[in-house]
């Protein structure tokens, strides 16, 4: 990693400790992200809260946002976020097969509704062909989602992609394996692979 994480035993800010517990529970991000951001505690809390609110809370289905998050992380080539999985999404029934379908040829996949396809397309186009995210595109979106939901999706996509681009440059990997066991960065790189 290019930035050393702050050791857990050196984090004594009560607000950060509370968020470390949240991260341990949701697993996306896992505590490693907060340990990196903990170099700037005020940023760590604000950024984590924004990530949590935009990803876990809101009116748009969390499983759909989780697929979008992974799709974006792969575009950003971020080995950290691309390999994390939301515990809440898994508990709600999200599978690796559904993730692969959403990150692949979702347009022709019968497993997604018209509304879900629009949301996946929104994420797909935002950083690849943003000129196609125009008024016509948004008008179609408004037949499927409320404006509040569209803003929720758009802000979620923007925020997470931007942070994933930053995390990509840190060359980090998840701090745990898929069973929740702590692993070193070297073990994690071997486990998840260096390409996403």
């Amino acid at each position: 990693m290019t930035i050393d994480p702050v050791p857990l035993e050196l984090i004594d800010d009560p607000g950060l400790k509370e968020r470390l517990d949240q991260a341990q529970e949701i697993q996306t991000p896992d505590p490693l992200f907060l340990q990196i951001m903990a170099h700037v505690p005020s940023y760590a809390k604000a950024v984590f809260d924004a990530m949590y609110r935009s990803h876990v809370l809101g009116n748009v289905d969390h499983k759909l946002k989780e697929i979008i998050r992974i799709q974006l992380a792969r575009l950003a080539k971020d080995t950290y976020f691309a390999n994390l999985r939301s515990a809440k999404a898994r508990q709600a029934g999200l599978t690796e097969e559904m993730i692969e379908a959403g990150c692949g040829d979702f347009e022709n996949d019968e497993g997604f509704s018209k509304a879900e396809k629009w949301a996946l397309r929104y994420a797909y186009l935002m950083f690849r062909e943003r000129n196609r995210v125009d008024k016509t595109f948004y008008d179609e979106g408004k037949t499927l989602y409320s404006e509040a939901e569209i803003m929720e999706l758009g802000a979620f996509i923007a925020f997470h992609y931007g942070l994933q681009v930053f995390m990509r440059t840190l060359q980090a990997f998840p701090a745990q394996d898929r069973d929740g066991n702590p692993v070193s960065q070297e073990e994690s790189a071997a486990l998840y692979g260096t390409t996403v």
Partner: protein, 121 residues
């Protein structure tokens, strides 16, 4: 802060004599994050650490990442500032006319268009 300095920082920072080495690497960090993140490697972070603390680098990096994401999203919403460069409240149509359809230097038209509108009023 002037419009000339903003333009210099965006278009000519590498060769400019107006920015310190520390400022140049921060501007390079931002440019590459948006356009060539693969160039931001361990060697680059090593160079950053000569000028900035780890806390400052995390601050810069997350700030830049946040902005990379948000400016792309906001660009798709097709809206414009509420105020002209000289501080007048204007409609979205008027703002589009003053600032233009693409984000360019304010010295390439926006300031003059706003000033001519003000004179006309």
């Amino acid at each position: 802060m002037t419009e000339e300095l903003i333009d210099e920082g965006i278009e000519n920072y590498e060769k400019s004599t107006r920015f310190s080495d520390a400022e140049k690497i921060a501007l390079r960090y931002s440019e590459w994050m948006a356009t060539a993140p693969e160039r931001i490697d361990a060697a680059f972070y090593g160079a950053l650490k000569k000028h900035y603390s780890v806390a400052e680098i995390v601050e810069l990096g997350s700030y830049i990442g946040f902005n990379v994401g948000y400016h792309t999203f906001f660009g798709t919403l097709d809206f414009y500032p509420m105020f002209t460069p000289d501080g007048r409240l204007v409609s979205q149509e008027e703002s589009r006319r003053v600032y233009g359809d693409r984000p360019v230097s304010h010295l390439k038209g926006a300031v003059q268009r706003a000033a001519s509108d003000n004179d006309a009023e």
